[in-house]
Each structure stands twice: as C-alpha cells, then as structure tokens.
Amino acid sequence: MKKEHMIGQALRGLNRNRLRTFFMMAGIMVGITVLTVVLSAGMGARERIMERVRVFGLENLMVWAGGPTDQVRLGQGTGGTPGVQVTTTLKIEDAQAIADEIRGARAIAPFARRGDSEASWRDRSYTTPVFGVTPEWRDVWDWPLDRGSFITDHDNQSMSRVAAIGPTVVRELFGSEDPMGQMIQVNGVPFEVAGIMGVKGTSAGGGDMDARVFVPLVTYMRRVANVDYLSGIRVQVRDLRDMEAVAADINALLRERHNLAPGEPADFRITTPTEITAMVEEMQGTFNLFLIVVAGIALVVGGVVVANIMLVSVSERRKEIGLRRAVGAKPRDIRGQFLMESTGVTLLGGIAGIGLGIVGNLVTKWLTGTPVLLTWQVLAAGVLFSTAVGVVAGLHPARRAAAMAPVDALRS
C-alpha cells in the first residue's frame, strides 16, 4: 500500500467502529493521565524538597584562612585563643577577586571573626561570637531576620557602627526589654542595635547559632579586632553539580594571588559539603526511581488495555481481513494497517490523556496542596510513550491478523 493511503485507511478503520476506538483511546488515556500527573506532581514535590534541603547550605563551600598545618586557625566555627599567631593572608581583595572572576560563584560572603568578644549593655555582659560581615551573609547562610535591618553595603562603605544581634544575645543582655536602637559595647566599641536576627537554632555540633552579633566587616576589622585580614569566605555556587569545579577554580585563583609555588602548601583551605551532597543525591535518585516505577505501572496498565481491545477487534474483523487478503493484500499490508490503527489510537488517546492530566494536576493541587510542575519533558514523555505503547500493544494482534488464511477468515 502506498504510504499516503495508509493514514487515511487507518483513520477510516478507526471510524468504522467508533465505540471500540473510544475504548482503546480510553485505555491509553488512563495510562497517560496518570503518567502526566505522576511526573508533574513528582517533579513539583521534588522541587519543594530541594528548596527545603537548600537550607542545609547545600550549595555553599567554605574558604578558610590558614592551611592545615598552621598553628592556629580561626573562623572554623570554633574560636581561637586570642593572642596566638594567626594567618593574615586572606584579604578582602581576595573575596572581590573571587566575585569578579569565578563565574560559577553566585554570591560571596567574606567574614572576619577573632574568637569571642564581650558584648555589654548597661551592667550586663555576655561573651559571644562576633562576626564582621557583608549583606551577602544572610543569603548564603539563609539566616532569618526578625526585626529591623541587617548589615548593608552602605554600612561597610561608611564603616558605620551598627549591629544585628541574635535571640540568645537579646535574652542575655536585654531580658524582656526592647533592644532596637539601643547602644551596646563590643570589646569596648559602641554599636547601635539595628536589627534582631530570627531563630536559627542549634548547629549539628551542638553550637548555639542564636548567640551571634553581626557588625559591618570593615568596622570589625578596623575598630574591633584591629586586623586587615579575613577569617574566611563562604561561597554559594550557581549549580550544585559544579561544586568541585568551582572549588578547584577558587583554589587556583587564590594560589596565584598569594604567590604560591606549585607544591608549596596553601595558606588557605577550601571545604565542600560532601556528606550532605551525597545524601541529597541519593535522595534524588530514590525519588526519581519512585517516579519511574509509578509511571511504568501506569503505562503497563494502558498498554494491557489497548492490547486486549485490539485482540478483540482483530477477531471481530475477521471477515474484513479475509476480504482484504482475497483482493490482494499481503500479510504485511494487514499487519501495517492494524499497527497503524493501534498507534493512531494511542497517539490520539495520549494527547487526550495529557489534556486530562493537566486537569488532574489542578485537582491534585487543589486536593493535596502538592505543587505541580508541567514541563515540556512531561509532555514529550506522554507523546513518546503513547506511541510506543501503540506499537507494542498492536504488534501481537497485528501479527495474528496477518497470519489468518483468507479462506478461513471469510467463512463466517
């Protein structure tokens, strides 16, 4: 049969028994609807989970001042003992260079901290970590702000003396009084409380992350600690997958800036959240597998229904098949005809299924609040799979049809 006639013949064949066609379409529609909803809702849920996990600082790496074999390191989340020699080679200019030259870095948060400092207000005092930071600190750490404002670029430019304090500090210094606008002393230097941080909780190591005082980086370095070097830089990467590459780029950049010869031990360290990353990757893997399993179930369902109805259709169209053979159709013509019918049906049913799946998405969202994400990949999957099911499900019935002897088929 010439190709241009094949589609017409298939469509006419489907039209001849509309009820049967409808039910085959319904079969695949079921499968594709479930597939669409599964993929959309699944991807939506995965996105939401990723958002949540991002809080773990998944996309961040740390650059620490000081190599592994130096006497004392600062800013590792632990305090150093004041007065001991520290590494002085990590500068604000290094942070700027990273911001300018490393494309994989989305945000840079340089910071300085020299052990713990004494914060006092009136007659109360409390020893706590004090960090000199930039506005990016809140982004890269996902640190919540409860009231007032955090450190701004302007604060750093003008070296202003403002502070944002954590809930534990509020409790220890102010009790139930309102800290906003009050003047506190940090190691003797006066600061105005401009913001109150939200609750961040306990760190994995048992540290109290609500015991914090944040002041502008430049102010801290020049007025409080009297240093010209950083303790570290936290870098947020654009894409989780590039973590190692970005770390390598920063490593190369800093080695060059610090004039380190090859083989010379570095005066800085870079650490990445390997354990957390591994966990998240495994989590995503499990998620994806689940989606595939469910989608597979849906497709098998659709395919089985279509195959069954096709078989019934073939046995009930014996006379037609016999007739076609009698007028000269080759077995492959018959096979092709039925295959094309089944593929056409599943394709139409698949498109209807996608439409119904979109409705299903809205229903799911309304019923359960799960976010749904409809992408072109989901649509393509629907179309692709419905075609595939049509071919596979139609294959056996098509072969059976082709194998019938004309004489037997015509006998009724």
Binding site: I49, T127, T271
Partner: protein
C-alpha cells in the same frame, strides 16, 4: 426467579461472553491493583528518602555543660563547669528507656605532630558507639573497639584533612603521631564528610578513646558533652524531660535550688526538614493514588457502559420471552456483584504481588497500606456495581420491541 438460579444464570453468562467479562474484569483489576502497588511502593520510597536525613542525626539529643556556650562551633570549652561525668552518661543510657545509646565525649584543640609537621586540630575523645550514633565511617583501617576504650589505649583515628596535612598521599595507618606530647598509633582514617550544616569542617579532627583523652591527654575527669540517641524520634521530648530530671537529681541541683548546670538541645532544624520532606512525600503519593483511583473508576464506568449497550438487545429478548423487569435487574446485579468482587479480589492479589515484586527489585521497605486496599476495593466495587446495574435498570424499563430494535 429464584435467587440461586439467577446467580447460576449470571455466572454462566459471564462464562459465555468471555471477552466481555475479561474486559470488565480488567478494568477493575487494574484499578485496584495499581493503587495498592503505588501506595506500597510510595511508602518504601518515602522511608528511603527520609532515612537518609535521619542518618544525619535527627534522633540525637546533645547534652553539654551549661555556660559553656559551644558558640557556633563544636568543641569550645570556656568557663569551668565540670559537673558532667562519665557516670552521668552511663546512668542516662542504662536507666532511661527512651535512650538507645549514649556517646560521652571530651575535646580540645591541640597540635598533632608527625616528623616536624604540625597541625592544630580538634582532638575528640569518644566511646566506640560514636561510629554508629554519629554516622562515622572509616575509609581505611578501623575504628576503636571496646577493648581499646577500656584499656585507654593510645590509638587514634584521623580525619581526612589531618591525615592529608601530616602524611600527604601516603598511608597514615600504623604510623606514629604525637598528640600534644603523647605518642599515638594511627589505626584508621575517616571517610570524608565535608562541611556540616553550620559550616564546620567535619574532616578536621582526630578521634581517640574517651578514657585515653580524659586520663592521658587532657587530664580532666569531666565531659564536654554527651550525645544521646533516642529510641525513636517521637520520644525525643519525653527523653529530654527525663534527662533533665535525672541529671538534676544526680547533680543535686534541686537541693540547692540552682539552675541547670547543663543544656539539652536537639537538631530542631534537621528534624523540621525531616518531617516536612516526609509530609511532602506522603501527600504526593496520596495525590497520585487518588488520581489513579479516579481514572480507574472512569475506566470501569466506560467498560460497563459498553457492555450494557451491547446487551440491550439481549434484555429485549429476555423480556419478550417472559422475564420480568425485576428478573432482568436481579440478573445484572448478580453479574455486576460477581464481576466486582471477583475483579476486586484479583486486583488485590495482583497488587500484593506487584508490591512484592517491586520490593525485591528496588530493595526498598515496600509496605502495603491496608487503607489503600480497602479504599480501592470498595471504590471499584461501588463503581462497577452502580454502572453495571443502573444502565441495565434503564434498559429494563424499555418496551421489549424497542430494546430488540436497538443496535
């Protein structure tokens, strides 16, 4: 027409029209089995996903001496509260049912030296249970065992950062290092873990047996903290309460009316994430199952409608040879019930089988939720019966002539 005869006729009808019966059954079987399998697999996947977060310590309770504010980091010792002891840890783990195990620890920042190279790092003294409770793993060599703990041996497990600083690419195992001024033998190196949630480098530490730390290195008889693993996440609050009560008693705080000389904390943020992810997953699976159920119901409806249309003529014949309308309805009801029940049970069997097969294939903790079985079976049965009987009821109201004439 007697009920039994009616049933027999219905059964035979189902057997005669095998194709039609099979198709109708198929709709129900598929609807029921797919929902059961999906929910079961969803359970397993959810356990997998949240299990990973759990491994990061959602069931950990951290007890530290008070006023020693581990400020932003792990092992900062400030002030001199020295009341937390090894006996406290033992008592807590033995007497509190909600506690599965306890890991007492002590730590200081000290230099670790090897052949002239020195690296100042966190020296952590822990008991062997730390391996499980803190989710540690050795990349090479071994961790401390009970014997080394009891004999206060001078063995150390290095974190990868320290190992690399001191030994470069060479093997560190069996080498000797100095912790402070005390010689130690390296028995293992930890698997890299990278930065933790608060930015601390977890690879920058060395671990020695707790007793060794207390007696030979730090020369102290008090702890910097105790990690306690709760038996289950749900019991954390109860456990925390019990811990506080027990420690206050042991430290005789009530007698002198003092505040707690310790602090109890949990990984609140981690737990919140744990819970949220679990919930997200549950609603996702629920949503998928609901959609499958609905779609399956539509499928059953379609098939039922098709078969009844085909049989309008049959209804006409029966009416014309003297069957009462009631007889026709009974026949169809019986058929629908048999079909629905048979299909439903076959669906349950298939769903269970499918769940079992998936459990083997994916290695997940696949578990069938009884609710899904009941719901899908009930729903499919209802739909099948209603749409099997209602159209037949409509057809039975026709004149026999009209019914016979329909195509």
């Amino acid at each position: 027409m007697k009920v039994v005869r009616s049933l027999r006729i219905s059964a035979r009808q189902l057997g005669v029209h095998r194709t039609r019966t099979t198709l109708s059954l198929l709709g129900i079987v598929i609807g029921v089995s797919s929902v059961i399998a999906i929910v079961a697999v969803g359970y397993g996947a959810r356990q997998e996903v949240i299990g990973r977060i759990q491994a990061m310590g959602t069931d950990l309770i951290m007890v530290t001496p008070a006023q020693i504010r581990p400020t932003g980091g792990r092992m900062q010792v400030r002030g001199t509260v020295t009341t937390l002891t090894l006996q406290d840890a033992t008592v807590l783990s033995e007497e509190l049912a909600q506690i599965a195990s306890a890991v007492p620890w002590a730590s200081r920042r000290m230099p670790v030296k090897f052949q002239g190279v020195s690296s100042t790092t966190t020296v952590l003294g822990v008991t062997p249970d730390a391996l499980d409770v803190l989710n540690l793993d050795t990349a090479v060599g071994a961790f401390h065992d009970q014997r080394e703990e009891v004999t206060a041996s001078r063995t150390v497990v290095l974190g990868p950062t320290v190992a690399r600083a001191l030994f470069g690419e060479e093997s560190a195992v069996s080498r000797r290092v100095l912790i402070g001024t005390v010689p130690f033998e390296v028995i293992g190196v930890l698997r890299p873990r990278g930065t933790d949630l608060s930015g601390t480098d977890q690879d920058d530490m060395v671990l020695i047996p707790l007793r060794t730390a207390l007696r030979r290195v730090f020369n102290q008889d008090w702890l910097n903290g105790i990690y306690l693993q709760a038996r289950s996440e749900g019991e954390m609050d109860a456990a925390a309460g019990q811990i506080r009560w027990l420690l206050r008693e042991r430290h005789r705080l009530d007698r002198i009316g003092a505040d707690d000389d310790f602090e109890i904390q949990t990984q609140a943020e981690l737990m919140a994430t744990h819970r949220e992810i679990g919930d997200t997953f549950t609603t996702l699976v629920g949503g998928i199952a609901a959609v499958s159920l609905l779609v399956g119901g539509v499928g059953i409806l379609a098939i039922m409608l098709m078969t009844v249309r085909e049989r309008t003529r049959e209804i006409g014949v029966r009416l014309s040879v003297g069957a009462r309308r009631r007889d026709v309805r009974t026949q169809f009801l019986a058929e629908a019930v048999m079909l629905g029940t048979g299909g439903g049970m076959a669906g349950i069997a298939l769903g269970l089988g499918g769940a079992a097969a998936l459990a083997v294939a994916t290695d997940w903790a696949v578990q069938v939720e009884p609710f899904s079985v009941v719901l899908s079976f009930g729903f499919s049965l209802l739909v099948g019966i209603f749409f099997g009987v209602y159209p037949a009821h409509r057809a039975s109201l026709l004149d026999p002539v009209e019914a016979l004439r329909s195509e």
